[in-house]
Amino acid sequence: MSGGVITIVKRELAGYFVSPVAYVFLVIFLLLTGFFTFTVGNFFERGEASLVSFFTWHPWLYLFLVPAVGMRLWSEERRLGTLELLLTLPIATWQAIVGKFVASWLFLALALALTFPVIITVNWLGDPDNGVIASGYVGSVLLAGAYLAVSCMTSAMTRNQVISFILSVLILLFLILCGYNPVTDLLSQWASPQVVQVVASFSVMTHFDAFQRGIVDVRDVVFFASVIGLALFTTGVIIRGLRAG
């Protein structure tokens, strides 16, 4: 990575912590993960030493939390007019895109890292497979990255953060639902199993599943990496379009 990217990452990350919004976000994130894990996910009633009830909810939790982080990435630059400043600095556009993306991804990773008490709890209560937990975390970070890249893309589309948020939630909802069991069951009533399988292979649910069971499959990693790559590439195309007018 070049100096320009690192400077942008530093600026963006520092930006999170000068405003109270970041702290509010972290608190909400932790409260919600706790709520889903222990209340909705029946962590204790399951009577097993695993974090299944913790990770299961991540695709849904991130559906709203990640766009909340990503919505301002480019829309704010457009609204403030700093896009003009940023893109006339001696860096390539992709460096700015990657820098802003990486900074927000690191922030999300930090939020995720702050859930460590749940690992301590489960290890204290029982004897979980920590390899499975580690793979769950890897999957969760990748999932957050894919969601973030999509939010990054929608935030380049508009200077209005609310619109960017809604667009992002809609796209992500689609990426969840096309592999969500109740939906695939419904779909298989009038489509052939092959079609259902192809549709489901585009879903984050399908690819997140194995991570929760302790399997880090290269194909799943490639899927998330492709979503990130494609969304960031599209961000670049959108920004080029903006500049051309």
């Binding site: 942008i8 000068v18 003009e84 400043l85 001696p90 390539a92």
Partner: protein, 321 residues
């Protein structure tokens, strides 16, 4: 240092910049004038590499801005219109960031920030968050950002917009000083600024260059240039006008005011060069007739008048259509 050839920019069906060519060398300060929407900002945005042109070539320090943007952008310091900056950063944080983005780190960064802060007089607000600054200070912060790397080329879109008269004066001096060893382009709506800081002026109207020359050359286009106004007491304006009209050099005489005590009349020569001759002739006439001369003023010509005469007729015609 900057060479622009046949630049064209269309936004959909709208032609914002239409076949603009110019060049700026080191040691020159080029002023961009033109009515609102003329295409000044659009031209600057293309030169700085923010937006791609529809057609035409731009070379900055020998680098083509489209095929080789990064070395070109390194040479440029840019103050965009409305002076955008990151509202949540402090002035110091923002300047450090822009210095680092330009590859200035460590001690060099400290020196660069100090120098820019000093030149733009930001000492008092160094640790203040940008969104709590007044408009003028925000503007100066963005100005500081544009000179942080002591660039060879400085491009500024309305650099004195929103500044108080003292600051306007300082910034003009800054531009002038920078112009001695850099290539500078700046746009403005303040016509005196052109006189104060520019070595050359381009007037743009609806995407086209309609005038290009030194401030003096442009001023001489004014119909006032070279005119002589006299204030004489004890004579009627009609008598005074008639006498002045009889001078060979004079092509037109305007009565400016008349009271029972005195008359004010302005005589226009054929060309601004004839001003000294006209002054001598007027003085001679006055002494011949034993009139009492109260005042005599010569006109250099007014920029605003030239600006209006070049850009106004068409604009009005268009509005009426």
């Amino acid at each position: 240092m900057i060479k622009v050839e046949n630049l064209i920019k269309n936004f959909g069906p709208k032609i914002a910049v239409n076949d603009v060519s110019f060049s700026v060398e080191r040691g020159e300060v080029l002023g961009f004038l033109g009515p609102n929407g003329a295409g000044k900002s659009t031209t600057m945005r293309m030169v700085t590499g923010f937006i791609p042109p529809t057609a035409g070539r731009i070379s900055v320090g020998g680098h083509d801005i489209l095929t080789n943007p990064i070395p070109a952008k390194r040479l440029i310091g840019y103050l965009p219109e409305n002076a955008p900056s990151y509202a949540d950063m402090t002035v110091q944080g923002f300047l450090r960031f822009t210095a680092e983005m330009r590859g200035i780190t460590g001690d060099a960064r400290k020196r660069a920030v100090n120098r820019a802060v000093e030149l733009c007089m930001l000492e008092n607000v160094l640790y203040q968050t940008i969104d709590t600054l007044s408009k003028g200070y925000r503007h100066r912060t963005c100005l500081a950002q544009s000179i942080i790397h002591d660039p060879d080329i400085l491009i500024m879109d309305e650099p004195t917009d929103g500044l108080d008269p003292n600051q306007k004066h300082e910034v003009r001096n800054l531009i002038k000083r920078m112009g001695t060893n850099k290539a500078v382009i700046f746009s403005t709506h303040i016509l005196e600024e052109v006189d104060a800081a520019c070595s050359r002026v381009i007037i743009i109207d609806r995407g086209r260059i309609v005038a290009n020359g030194t401030p003096d050359e442009l001023r001489r286009r004014s119909h006032l240039a070279g005119a002589v106004s006299v204030v004489v007491s004890g004579v009627t304006a009609a008598e005074l006008s008639e006498a002045l009209s009889s001078i060979d050099l004079v092509v037109r005489v305007d009565t400016l005011s008349e009271t029972p005590q005195q008359s004010v009349v302005r005589a226009h020569p054929d060309s601004p060069d004839q001003k000294p001759a006209l002054v001598r002739a007027v003085m001679e006439l006055v002494s011949q007739r034993h009139w009492q001369l109260e005042d005599l003023r010569t006109e250099e010509g007014h920029f605003d008048e030239v600006f209006r005469s070049i850009t106004l007729p068409d604009t009005i015609k268009e509005a009426r259509q």
